[in-house]
């Protein structure tokens, strides 16, 4: 089992390394001069030359990649081209803010998905299922910016409980950010839950039709006990991966949702970095995203293995 985990870990490291190579090459090896891209077409040759020196573009590509990667491994992502501050400092601050919404969104999303998915699966083709299935299809079919906009319309404009736009800066305290967390987190959790609900519904229907659930029922166990103790654990199993994938998706989702509310997290930082062509910041965020994704996949595989005795035994053999 430990060997299985170690193999998975090695694969995750390989994936992140390849992703870092891809990100670096995408930024530095695509046609077009990066310095000219940053400064605009009518920049003076002197300014372009100065920018090339600042970016270290005069050194060979592989040396630059090596420097960047070894820096990143030590937590040094270079300096922002806009603020001239270390990228890592800005990133840490923004990461905290984004983690606040992400944590709330994950908790809300999983609770929502569990309740709705199980109810829909148990009431297959009757009205609660129809309602939940229709709503989750709608949730899947609307871009995050639409859901966020509709939520803002409902709970910031029509019923003004939450702020429509966040005014606090990136270094605000958690208490200051607290009222601003809810709408972005809700928007993210709706999209996240929509996918999980669809998966869980199918899984619950399959499990409820299986023989061991029928046996538990025939033994005269209370329906709640049959569902919670017998059916749910095995119905959850295929969902673990989907949950992990959705948490990884959150990383992309925050870019859009934070922009709607101007929430000072990683997402807004990303959009600003793209606008300002702040490549060191963008590279760092993309690498962070890849590492998080790989870790989540690893975690999902390990959790799935712990939940499934058959998988556990096969992994040992």
């Amino acid at each position: 089992m430990i060997r299985y985990v170690l193999r998975r870990l090695a694969l995750a490291v390989l994936t992140v390394w390849l992703a870092s190579l891809g990100i670096f090459l995408a930024v530095h090896a695509l046609p077009g001069d990066v310095a000219t891209q940053i400064l605009g077409r009518d920049a003076t040759p002197q300014a372009v030359a100065a920018m090339r020196t600042e970016l270290g573009l005069n050194e060979p590509l592989w040396q630059r990649y090596g420097d960047w990667l070894s820096g990143a491994l030590h937590g040094d992502f270079g300096t922002s081209l806009v603020t001239h501050q270390p990228v890592a400092d800005e990133l840490t601050l923004r990461l905290r803010n984004t983690l606040l919404i992400a944590a709330l969104a994950i908790v809300l999303g999983i609770v929502l998905a569990l309740v709705c998915g199980v109810v829909a699966g148990l009431t297959r083709d009757r009205w609660p299922d129809m309602l939940i299935s229709t709503l989750s299809l709608a949730g899947m079919s609307m871009p995050e910016f639409v859901i966020a906009t509709l939520l803002a319309l409902a709970f910031a404009v029509a019923i003004p409980i939450f702020p429509a736009v966040v005014t606090a800066g990136p270094d605000a305290t958690v208490a200051e950010l607290l009222p601003a967390l809810w709408l972005p987190a809700c928007a993210l959790s709706v999209v996240m839950a929509a996918y999980i609900i669809r998966m869980l519904r199918t899984s619950v229907i399959d499990t409820m039709a299986s023989e061991f659930v029928a046996t538990a029922r025939l033994r005269g166990l209370a329906p709640a006990r049959v569902v919670l103790r017998h059916a749910l654990p095995s119905a959850l199993l295929p969902t673990v991966n989907v949950v992990a994938m959705n948490i990884a998706w959150l990383l992309g989702g925050v870019v859009v949702v934070e922009s709607v509310f101007n929430y000072p997290g990683l997402g807004v930082l990303t959009v600003d970095a793209v606008h300002n062509r702040d490549l060191p910041v963008l590279q760092a965020i993309a690498l962070l995203g890849a590492a998080t994704y790989a870790l989540l996949n690893l975690a999902a595989d390990v959790v799935a293995m712990l939940l499934n005795p058959r998988l556990r035994r096969r992994a040992v053999a």
Partner: protein
């Protein structure tokens, strides 16, 4: 043209039955069809120009003259939404075709050749999939600039790997079968074997992937426009329309509502169609994951 085997033909007959049999699948195809018709007929149906102000008042509520009201520049929201459909459908079709062709070709070749090519391709697929879609797209947009062709290239780069993985898995089930072995033994070339023997028999998987990716491509492209990295003003792009009217949300919700409804109905239609296809062809839709 490729021909279908006997089993394949029977399966396609069943598809027609399911398309008309399931209510939600029918709704899906009707929605997508309606969007196609509206987009094609936009020049005839749209009462005003989508780009120019026609002397109407800005942020005018829906009325008989302007069924969906006017936006902050006095442009007719209905006309803009109708023309926006043409953009959304062309962009989606082009990008989806790129994604499916590249993904299918790479997936088939990886399954056919196996060995080091397969290993390398699959590791690259893992690496691309590990960077969140929007982030990967933004990196490409930052470096290569915006514009339709860059967008198509970017979308292909981020979605083709997922298609390649699914197609590879499907092709791996077909390639060991006797008729493929026979074709290889006859000395046919890789392209001939793949296009004549393998592809027709994984066409169901490719078709479901196409419908599913199309719905994601719509979402992705509109999100990019919303962030300001897709279509440029005064384009009647749906994502851009929502972004432009965001500050007017409280005063003129209609200006955002029309493109939102258009976007949602198109994606719901594509999703229902993909569901229906997957069900009638017996393809597991969740196989590709949600990344």
């Amino acid at each position: 043209m490729m021909t279908l085997s006997g089993a394949g033909r029977r399966r396609w007959g069943a598809v027609a039955g399911v398309l008309t049999g399931s209510r939600s699948t029918l709704i899906g195809f009707v929605l997508v069809g309606a969007h196609l018709v509206l987009a094609l007929a936009a020049p005839v149906l749209a009462p005003y120009s989508p780009i120019v102000n026609n002397g109407a008042l800005p942020i005018d509520a829906p009325s008989l003259a302007h069924w969906a009201g006017t936006d902050q520049l006095g442009r007719d929201v209905l006309s803009r939404t109708l023309y926006g459909g043409r953009l959304a459908l062309t962009d989606t079709a082009l990008a989806t075709i790129g994604v499916i062709i590249v993904g299918t070709a790479v997936g088939c070749l990886a399954a056919y050749w196996r060995g080091w090519f397969d290993e390398v391709v699959m590791r690259i697929v893992d690496a691309v999939l590990s960077v969140p879609t929007i982030l990967a797209l933004l990196v490409v947009v930052t470096v290569a600039g915006s514009g339709t062709w860059v967008l198509m290239l970017a979308v292909t780069t981020v979605y083709a790997p997922a298609v390649a993985r699914v197609v590879r898995a499907a092709a791996l089930e077909v390639i060991p079968l006797d008729y493929v072995t026979a074709a290889r033994a006859r000395g046919e070339r890789a392209f001939a074997v793949l296009s004549r023997e393998v592809l027709p028999n994984i066409l169901d998987v490719v078709l479901v992937e196409t419908a599913m990716r199309a719905s994601w491509v719509v979402l992705l492209i509109s999100s990019l426009s919303f962030l300001g990295f897709g279509a440029d003003p005064p384009s009647p792009d749906w994502g851009l329309m929502v972004a432009e009217n965001r500050s007017m949300l409280a005063v003129a919700p209609w200006a955002s509502l029309a493109p939102i409804i258009a976007l949602a109905t198109l994606v719901i239609g594509l999703n229902l169609a993909a569901d229906g296809l997957a069900k009638s062809l017996g393809v597991d839709r969740m196989r590709g994951g949600v990344a």
